[in-house]
Symmetry: C2
């Protein structure tokens, strides 16, 4: 529907400070970001081809990108030493590992802002990355689904700002992805609704401003609550989650220790968080904690429980399940979910 694509192109441009523009005829609509990422993999990679993805990455990619396409993912190992920033050395290392596995590297996929880190990619890192893919002659996929969640400096830089001068539209990809959009159509009334909604600039500005204000507030609530019990979050400026270092609560500094801690937090404390190992993080002890899909009151209860657990754990005592005054459903957002929820649920979980 042209009205929707036009409104979307304008809104996406506004979100990027009008530093880049979008041609509505190059927009391909899909029923969800999962569908978009899978369609791109079908377009760009054959069975046995690989994409490099910086770690930690969204655990769903192992399902979304590989499951039906036959494509492989080779992780680009980032570490806490530099705040999990992407480096040329890490990219080169991943590229070499892919070659050793006899995989043909077809591209790099990044999430910017990062899921699970909640950080935006600095312009210098994007420039380094664009140099890398240009040198290798491979594709670059930038999943910017969280660009509307940036709540603090440094602001969001879209990869389009960096490649604008160098990249041309690949009509082949647009055409193939458009054909594949048959497999996940966006219904007409949804396009009507979103066209009206995004066409109202006053509304979208107020909405985004209020939304980022609330995310910032909720993120502070989580970070302060965790700091009070000696748990640190990676500094972040975007996303609906924090990347939290819980190493000091583990009985052993290993992935077994991480899994043991995760099971306790899920089954005894009654909170679901995602272990770093599910995001292919190489350092045990990191967890993704979502804070935006619940009320401030629920987050308070969660922090109280986690606080009690942390105190007991560091005191070396066995932790028992606390009395549950508020029911917090255990949600397995990162693995083996049998029944995906509504689109709204899924967005919160990504």
């Amino acid at each position: 529907m042209p009205a929707f694509k036009n409104a979307l192109a304008r809104f996406m441009s506004e979100q990027r400070g009008y530093r880049v523009t979008f041609d509505p005829s190059n927009i391909v609509l899909t029923a969800g970001a999962t569908s978009a990422n899978e369609a791109l993999m079908f377009c760009l990679a054959d069975h046995g081809d690989a994409f490099l993805i910086p770690t930690p990455y969204y655990p769903g990619f192992d399902r979304d990108l590989k499951w039906r396409t036959g494509a492989e993912i080779v992780p680009v190992h980032c570490t806490s030493g530099n705040g999990f920033r992407l480096t040329r050395a890490a990219l080169d290392d991943a590229y070499r590992r892919a070659q050793k596995l006899r995989l043909r590297v077809k591209g790099v996929l990044i999430t910017n802002p990062s899921n699970p880190l909640g950080t935006t990619s600095p312009r210098a890192d994007l420039e380094m990355l664009v140099d890398f893919v240009a040198a290798k002659g491979i594709h670059l996929v930038s999943d910017e689904i969280y660009s509307g969640t940036v709540f603090a400096d440094p602001g969001f830089v879209s990869v389009l700002e960096v490649v604008a001068a160098r990249a041309a539209t690949d009509d082949g990809v647009v055409s193939a992805a458009t054909k594949m959009s048959s497999f996940g159509l966006v219904s007409s009334q949804t396009q009507h609704l979103l066209a009206s909604l995004l066409g109202d600039r006053d509304f979208t500005r107020r909405y985004i401003a209020e939304n980022t204000r609330r995310i910032r507030e909720r993120r502070e609530q989580l970070a302060e609550g965790l700091a009070a019990v000696g748990i640190e979050c990676l500094e972040s400026n975007a996303g609906l989650f924090c990347w939290v270092n819980m190493r000091r609560l583990m009985r052993s500094r290993s992935f077994e220790g991480e899994m043991e801690l995760w099971k306790k937090v899920v089954f005894e404390v009654g909170l679901n968080i995602s272990p770093g190992s599910s995001c292919h993080c190489r350092e045990p002890g990191w967890f993704r904690v979502c804070f935006a899909n619940m009320s401030a009151k629920t987050l308070d209860v969660a922090l109280q429980r986690l606080g009690a657990f942390a105190e007991a754990a560091t005191a070396g005592r066995r932790v028992l399940a606390p009395a549950r005054s508020i029911s917090l459903p255990v949600r397995f957002s990162w693995a083996n979910r049998l029944t995906p929820g509504s689109a709204a649920d899924r967005k919160a979980e990504r």
Copy 2:
């Protein structure tokens, strides 16, 4: 969304005269029927496996079912001799051909009501088909997307009425298809809208009654208009299209003759119809003509043009493009469409 699945289960049961019921927990939602059919293929067939499909069949299946899954289609050849009804001999013949091609037959897929025939499967044919798949130990997929278009006797018999006593729910397929529904999600507001709409029984009854009345009327308009110039339609009782025998307009009784006629109708007469060869029909000269996605006035213009063309063709004169008082867009619904339209467009085209 449970409210939507509950309303859908009740509506689907009503459409089948309450002779069968549906368990809402066995319903998997997908963004369009194309998405549903592809997901089922991903569930039931691996690369190199095959499904048998009676001809003529919806040309999109060659794309939807095979493209990304790697599955193959082996046509079950039905003929005009018995009104293109499915026979055991045709099924056995297709099964043998598949074996000769070293393909593992995983099931049979039917469309009931048939696209492109516009006919419903008689109960006896469904019983024969169920016996066949039971004997071979293979799957049966019944695409009943057009069950709401039945406008005349004999009424619609869902395959569920025939298998009710023999079939059990395959939880594995429900679970796998549910996971795959991530790749084509139905947005929350669409589910809300449809739950309200389907929950209003008075409205849905009036809507279906009025809709089938209009389809019947339009179908008569087309059949009578074609009969007036000596062109026959297959007798039908459902669907948004007729299966039309245009053999007498062809210069040669071959698929070359069919393609030559199709090009004339598209480029000279300005009408888009689907040649039977695109539906894998083995008898040249049949065409699918859609009648429901236009106004009665537009259909009249189309019939006038086709009438003039038929007269000229049978008089052996070269046919020229008539003056176009109403613009009829040329629509390539069966092949090589680059830009799928809205969901409503696609539904009309299927």
